[in-house]
């Protein structure tokens, strides 16, 4: 029963995380919260479901890559302006200019940076629980 609930809740939490990230610049929310909420969904899966299923549904096989990709994305946003002679962490569009919107999401490089944070936090949570939970549940394989 708990596995069924977890499987139903997980996509909802992922959607909530996506919304928290997208609204982060206009309303309450940010990449860290988004990553933590998505991570909670993953933890729920590891607690409630069979480890193999939790791994498949949460993308645990790709989690180390997600961890690296999130960090790379954030570092790219931070350092790429340096290649064009600008100080690090120069975001676009610059203050004073109009930003395009896509629903609640404002197309802004800071939102990209936030996405990097969200992906890193999610990846870190999944990597940690994927390593530790087989031990807790006694099913090493």
């Amino acid at each position: 029963m708990s596995a069924v609930v977890a499987r139903a809740v997980f996509p909802l939490l992922l959607a909530a995380a996506l919304a928290l990230w997208a609204r982060g610049y206009a309303e309450i929310g940010d990449g860290f919260s988004a990553g933590a909420i998505a991570g909670t969904g993953a933890v729920l899966m590891f607690v409630a479901c069979d480890h193999g299923m939790a791994r498949r549904r949460t993308g645990a096989g790709a989690a180390p890559a997600l961890l690296a990709l999130g960090l790379l994305l954030a570092l790219l946003v931070v350092l790429a302006p340096v290649a064009f002679g600008l100080p690090p962490v120069t975001h676009f569009p610059r203050p004073g200019s109009e930003a395009h919107r896509f629903g609640a999401l404002e197309l802004h490089t800071a939102a990209l940076f936030d996405l990097g944070i969200a992906v890193t936090v999610y990846g870190a949570t999944v990597v940690a629980f994927d390593q530790l939970f087989p031990a807790l549940k006694g099913d090493e394989q």
Partner: protein, 758 residues
């Protein structure tokens, strides 16, 4: 900018090739070096690289890199010299690793460190800010340490420790000097310090610290002793770092900051006599040494004495000579180190007294190394001739004593290098030694290439004059009228040189006999000199370190206690150092729920230390975390409270997962350990200090809090959630740094965990 970014990219590509095919690591590194020479050369010729942006504003520092007339020729030379050295390494390292019983894969790390060292040197030569120069110097010292200890035997490890202590330790003096400069002038940017009147506020002690900090890098007496010991490193390291590149870092930095020293003639005089001490004493020690690489190491100390006296004496010839010297010496000396390595690999011998007659079996190497010997000794038709000419011209302006010492030094150079060459290649082979095998061509060709350059620039000096006159102009701050050319007449300098060469040749032949006597004198000086004092200091430091280790880092509990206690003491010192006792606010009625929740959390934390069952411990820790979430909810920050609940839930599960792997009595056993109660007391005391500090800092809300500015700026930064804008924009660099730490920690923990499970 793209040029700079291409350097690490080329190095990483070379590393990736090396990882895939270890046998190709050396050649891939050589190609990366060729790329860097090409990129630097193209930038110098077409569009000199220039980058300047703010950095460490509190020190007035700039992240300023420029391929200027001083840095450009020397950066191209330094990267260019890496090409033959790495090519030599590609042939040398497989046999070296095999001899040491190590796998070929270990060579990949070796070449990676050589490339990082080269990058650090190029950074040093482009840097236009004292802080950047310091960082580049530290990086060279670190790479030198890692490369000296590469063989990981006892001798290498001891030599590496000495080198690190001297070269990185004295860099701290340089740091002290630059901090004093930043404090007095408000900047560490060389461009700003060049402004009229800007350097007047600099105290002399700051300049002394900086000069002392860099002289050790060029192995000048009395901080020279690390260099002969560093000869335990594989030959490519000696050939690149300790003959040409790292030792040049000190002299180069002195060239960069020469304009700051103009007003302190006593300091320049001191440097001059230190230079003379190095070139005389190290020359004598070189004449007395028996091991090939030791002769060359002492020769390097003596030769950098040349550079130092020219820089200190100044004037048009001195400044041109000091700028040009680095290249003139390095090309030839590098070839000689590689010769020593090739001979040792072919014969197994590393001492002059056990060698001889190798010219017949190694004619090409003998000829090429003879050109290099003549190059360092400054004979005509080699690049070295011009450095000795400039030295004598500088010293003739200085007076007869300086001229006499310089002439003697030139004689001594030919003597000890002549003795080395004659000892290896001339005469008959020693009875009872193995018949020599010819060294592999991969070890000979780089020597031939460098010697060809030594001879070529001895004939074709026009491009050198053009490049290094421009370099000396940067050092002097005005056009320098001096030449790198052969004299038209039998000048006084030439007559002095002729006399010095005749004396040097006689000494070289005689030196084969009286060398052992000088060798004993050098050994005695080694036992009583600054090297011995440094050894005593190092031993005392080792004992102190062992004692502190026992006190501080015996186990994780102790480490935490020491960190907390130290933090508490420093915070208290900060509070008491503030003469105006800070005003504190009153506890308002509205705050009582928050204060009560905090108090409950504060009481739960020490109780957790008494828990003996895993469940009780996890519940208590979870209670502390949830109480803090409640504090945020009460303080009108529901989003932070929600986030804390989420994070706390995950942490609780993690705790359960980790503790489930532990023996059930682990907490009980921990309580019985030595110092357990003391740790609890320290933790509680540190908590009380933190509470006091937080109360002092936060109980009075300023009328114009700095956060108001964040709120105002958030709107212009296209955001409404101030916390998000601060994290992603205002302090985005900090957030990126924290993320990097998180990822590295996760990778480390996962690796440890995976290791345990395996």
């Amino acid at each position: 900018m793209l040029t700079i970014l291409s350097f690490p990219a080329a190095a990483l590509l070379a590393l990736a090739v090396g990882q895939a095919r270890p046998a190709l690591a050396g050649w891939a590194a050589t190609l990366a070096a060729v790329w860097m020479v090409g990129a630097l050369g193209a930038s110098w010729a077409l569009d000199p690289l220039s980058l300047d942006m703010p950095w460490f504003a509190s020190l007035g520092s700039r992240f300023a890199l420029e391929l200027d007339a001083l840095g450009a020729p020397l950066a191209v030379y330094t990267a260019g010299l890496a090409v033959p050295v790495l090519a030599y390494g590609a042939a040398y390292m497989p046999a070296h690793l095999h001899e040491k019983g190590r796998p070929p894969r270990d060579g990949v790390a070796f070449f990676a460190m050589m490339l990082v060292f080269m990058l650090a040197m190029v950074l040093l030569m482009l840097a236009q800010d004292l802080l950047l120069i310091f960082l580049a110097l530290e990086l060279t010292a670190l790479m030198s340490f890692l490369l000296i200890r590469f063989d990981e035997d006892e001798e290498s490890l001891a030599a590496a420790r000495t080198a690190l202590t001297v070269t990185a330790g004295t860099s701290l003096l340089f740091l002290l000097g630059l901090l004093m400069i930043a404090q007095r002038t408000g900047t560490t940017s060389l461009a700003a310090l060049r402004q009229p009147g800007a350097a007047e506020a600099i105290p002399d002690i700051a300049l002394v610290c900086m000069v002392a900090g860099v002289l050790a890098k060029s192995a000048q007496m009395p901080l020279h002793f690390w260099l002969p010991r560093a000869m335990t490193a594989p030959t490519p390291v000696s050939a690149y770092l300790h003959s040409a590149a790292m030792v040049s870092a000190g002299l180069f930095v002195l060239l960069r900051i020469r304009f700051l020293l103009e007003g302190t003639s006593w300091l320049l005089d001191g440097m001059l006599w230190l230079g003379f001490a190095s070139l005389t004493l190290a020359g004598l020690f070189a004449l007395g040494s028996d091991r090939f690489k030791r002769v060359l190491a002492y020769s390097t100390i003596a030769q950098y004495g040349y550079g130092l006296v020219m820089l200190a004496a100044g004037g048009r010839h001195g400044l041109l000579g000091a700028s040009f010297f680095i290249m003139a010496h390095g090309l030839a000396k590098c070839a000689l180190f590689m010769t020593a390595g090739a001979v040792t690999q072919a014969t197994g011998e590393e001492r002059i007294s056990n060698s001889g007659g190798l010219g017949r079996s190694m004619p090409l190497l003998a000829l090429a190394s003879l050109v290099a010997v003549l190059g360092v000794a400054g004979l005509p038709l080699t690049i070295g001739f011009f450095k000795d000419e400039l030295l004598l011209k500088t010293m003739l302006d200085r007076g007869p004593v300086a001229t006499g010492l310089a002439t003697a030094a030139i004689a001594m150079t030919l003597a000890y290098l002549g003795r080395l060459w004659l000892g290896i290649f001339a005469g008959r082979s020693r009875p009872g030694t193995q018949p020599p095998t010819a060294p592999r061509i991969g070890l000979v060709l780089p020597v031939v290439g460098l010697s060809a350059a030594v001879a070529l620039f001895g004939i074709w000096s026009a491009p050198l004059e053009q490049a290094f006159r421009a370099a000396a102009t940067v050092v002097a701050g005005e056009p320098v009228e001096a030449h790198i050319a052969y004299p038209d007449t039998l000048s006084l300098e030439l007559k002095l040189s002729l006399a010095a060469w005749a004396a040097g040749l006689a000494l070289a032949i005689g030196g084969l006999r009286f060398g052992p006597i000088l060798g004993r004198a050098a050994a005695a000086a080694g036992r009583a000199g600054p090297g011995a004092a440094a050894d005593l200091l190092a031993e005392a430091g080792r004992r102190l370190s062992h004692l502190l280790h026992e006190l501080e880092v015996r186990d994780a509990r102790n480490r935490l206690s020491v960190t907390l206690a130290a933090a508490a003491v420093f915070v208290l010192m900060g509070i008491f150092a503030d003469r105006d006792w800070p005003r504190t606010g009153a506890l308002r009625f509205d705050d009582i729920p928050v204060a009560a929740t905090l108090l409950v959390a504060a009481l739960a934390a020490p109780i957790a230390t008494a828990a003996t069952s895993h469940t009780a411990f996890v519940m208590l820790m979870s209670f502390v975390g949830m109480s803090l979430a409640l504090v945020f909810a009460l303080a009108h920050a529901p989003d932070v409270a929600l986030l804390l609940v989420v994070v706390q839930t995950m942490l609780t599960l993690l705790f359960i997962a980790v503790l489930s792997r532990m023996p059930h009595d682990v907490l009980m056993a921990a309580r019985r350990k030595r110092g357990a109660r003391r740790s609890v007391v320290v933790g509680v005391a540190a908590g009380i200090v933190a509470t006091v500090a937080a109360w002092l800092a936060l109980s009075v809300i300023p009328t114009d809090p700095p956060t108001a500015e964040f709120v105002r700026l958030a709107e212009t930064a296209h955001g409404k959630d101030v916390v998000t804008v601060i994290l992603a924009d205002f302090r985005g660099l900090g957030t990126a740094g924290e993320m990097t730490v998180l990822v590295v920690a996760i990778i480390g923990a996962t690796a440890i965990w995976a290791g345990r499970r395996a």
